[in-house]
Amino acid sequence: MPIKILVTAKRVEDYESKIKVNAQGNGIVLEGLKYKINPFDEIGVEEALRLVAKHGGGEVVVASVGTKDVHEQLRHALAMGATRAIWVNHAGPLDQMTVAGCLQKLIEKEKPDLAILGKQAIDDDQNQVGQYLAEWLGWSQATFASKEESLESEAEKSKTPALQLSADAKTLTVIREVDGGLETLECSMPCVVTTDLRLNQPRYASLPGIMKAKSKPIEEHTPATLGVDATPKITVTKMEHPPARKAGIKVPDVATLMDKLKNEAKVI
């Protein structure tokens, strides 16, 4: 049975970028930064592609909110294999509630069976949009989706999806990373899933994929055309670096280390 899945592709600073607060302390220094698709979103795209492949086709629709720069991330998802893209054109500050609101409206229009989002974006690290979206849609939610098999396992190498859809397509079984272990959750469909690190290892965008992505459509909306109030309810008023931890000393041997731990740090 074909399946339709909505995924996201937030534009974030590359995780290897060195983030520096600007002189005014109200933002970060943008010069020299590289941008990527949010790694958790990329895991979501991968899982969606695997599910579609397993369930005899369907559609993976990727959405992103931001300036035209987000086309780069949408194209990346399209190059991985997503079917088409939706761009919600918005400049300026953006909070989780606006993003969740836009995604809610898109989902009401697109009517996918499932939405798979990153559990959080690696810029603001909020971890909220999936849950807001599930509540506002009245859908079930499975956050922190993971699997028992490791990323080195055969199941991973054969690109088996970790999310299990029942034969009647009414229930989704998700393994979640919870406090103290792994939980198996059964969700009624439709469902919002948010991805954790070890759900899968995303594929690379292949060169033929990149070439094909050039001709895949990107549909444009704005928060206003979707009927979403984009006034931020969360404002960052100040940014600063945490106090740096200073490098200590190198000790030559275990005996010296023991002495320091006992008599200087007094932790043993």
């Binding site: 990346h76 690379y204 965008a205 292949s206 060169l207």
Partner: protein
């Protein structure tokens, strides 16, 4: 004029960079040490479309621009120039067919490479004919619908594993370059033997062997171009591939520079990081500016090909400058690492060994100078 990479080029670069970083580099030291053939990694590169980039779209390929190929070559060489040499060897071997093959030949000799993971080797050099291509001794004698091939080819990349060979030979060695012809040899016909893998100083992940032909029958329809056109086919191929080789030098040198910068910031001597010493700073500044210059020169040589211009002069500038630059940059990187740089525990000595080959293969730095001088001094 515009120096920025387009979004498309950036996307291609991204994939190549990620692959180089996550797949090639972690295994680079292992394959350098063991001299094994990194078949799985090369196959993965094929699956991502990082090989056979020149095959026309009409024959199932992706037909990347020369500029795009150059951008990708830098990243692959950054990951491991030995592996990169094995990957690009396919393009080098397929280029004569792309440039001079008939439609039927392209369908027969190129298309399978887009459908299945196959390797190809380019056979030009001989034990007695290196820079002096026209001195080749590998002969082809016509017998009905076949040529009968006799002779040896040396330093053949991927030769042990290749499924198809592009072999240059002569129908009449007295005619020097006017006697040369290009043949495609498929599989392992009778009389064809592959020698042992050469133990090399650098680029040890790439397979290098000698090929021997003893009365090997090759169908006449496997001839690319006409008899006597082989030299032109080979030179056109090298004009096309020279930017890629130059980019190998850029990628290799960039890797060395990045290691040198990281190390010089961490390594403390006389109570401060060695990066604070002017002697080290000057070496890094030289590396950075020369890498940048080599990259731009190479971009131009690729851009000229894309514009349909002859690029012999600029591509020789690029190959000569980039290869010599990489040798210097990697030697300086070893110097910055000091004793650690000389140790195999650290990555820079491999880069230095790898760089040396780039000054030698696909036209030595001296041959590039000859080409440059010839281009400049010819005519009135």
């Amino acid at each position: 004029m515009n120096f920025a990479l387009t979004d498309d080029l950036k996307a291609l670069q991204d994939t190549a960079r990620k692959f180089a970083k996550e797949v090639m580099r972690p295994k680079a030291a292992h394959f350098d040490e063991t001299e094994q053939f990194p078949r799985e990694i090369i196959q993965q590169a094929w699956e991502l479309g990082l090989m056979n980039m020149t095959i026309p779209q009409a024959h199932g390929g992706i037909e990347l621009s020369h500029l795009a190929q150059a951008v990708i070559a830098e990243e692959l060489a950054w990951g491991c120039s030995g592996m990169a040499t094995s990957m690009i060897a396919n393009d080098l071997a397929l280029l004569p067919i792309v440039l001079s093959g008939t439609k039927e030949q392209k369908e027969k000799f190129l298309k399978p490479f887009t459908e299945k993971f196959l390797l190809a080797s380019f056979g030009l050099t001989e034990p007695g004919a290196g820079s002096d291509v026209a001195g080749m001794r590998c002969t082809a004698r016509r017998e009905g619908d076949f040529y009968v091939l006799n002779g040896q080819k040396q330093w053949i990349t991927n030769g042990e594993y290749a499924d198809q060979y592009t072999i240059f030979c002569t129908t009449d060695s007295t005619k020097r370059h006017k006697g040369i012809m290009c043949l495609v040899v498929q599989g392992r016909p009778r009389g064809f033997t592959v020698g042992k893998h050469e133990h090399k100083m650098g680029q040890r992940a790439s397979n290098t062997v000698t090929l021997t032909f003893e009365d090997v029958k090759v169908p006449v329809e496997n001839r690319i171009g006409q008899e006597g056109e082989g030299f032109i086919v080979a030179m056109n191929t090298l004009d096309n591939s020279r930017p890629l080789t130059a980019m190998f030098a850029v990628g290799n040198a960039r890797a060395a520079m990045e290691h040198a910068i990281d190390y010089s910031k961490q390594r403390q001597q006389f109570g401060k990081p060695i990066a604070e010493f002017q002697g080290v700073q000057f070496m890094i500044a030289d590396m950075a500016s020369e890498i940048h210059a080599a990259r731009l020169l190479t971009y131009e040589s690729a851009w000229r090909l894309d514009a349909g211009e002859r690029n012999t002069l600029v591509s020789s500038y690029a190959k000569r400058f980039a290869a010599d630059m990489a040798m210097k940059a990697t030697t300086d990187a070893v110097q910055i690492f000091g004793g650690y740089g000389y140790s195999r525990e650290y990555p820079v000595e491999k880069l230095m060994r790898d760089a040396k080959l780039i000054q030698i293969y696909e036209g030595t730095s001296q041959v590039q100078r000859l080409v440059i001088a010839r281009e400049l001094l010819k005519g009135s």
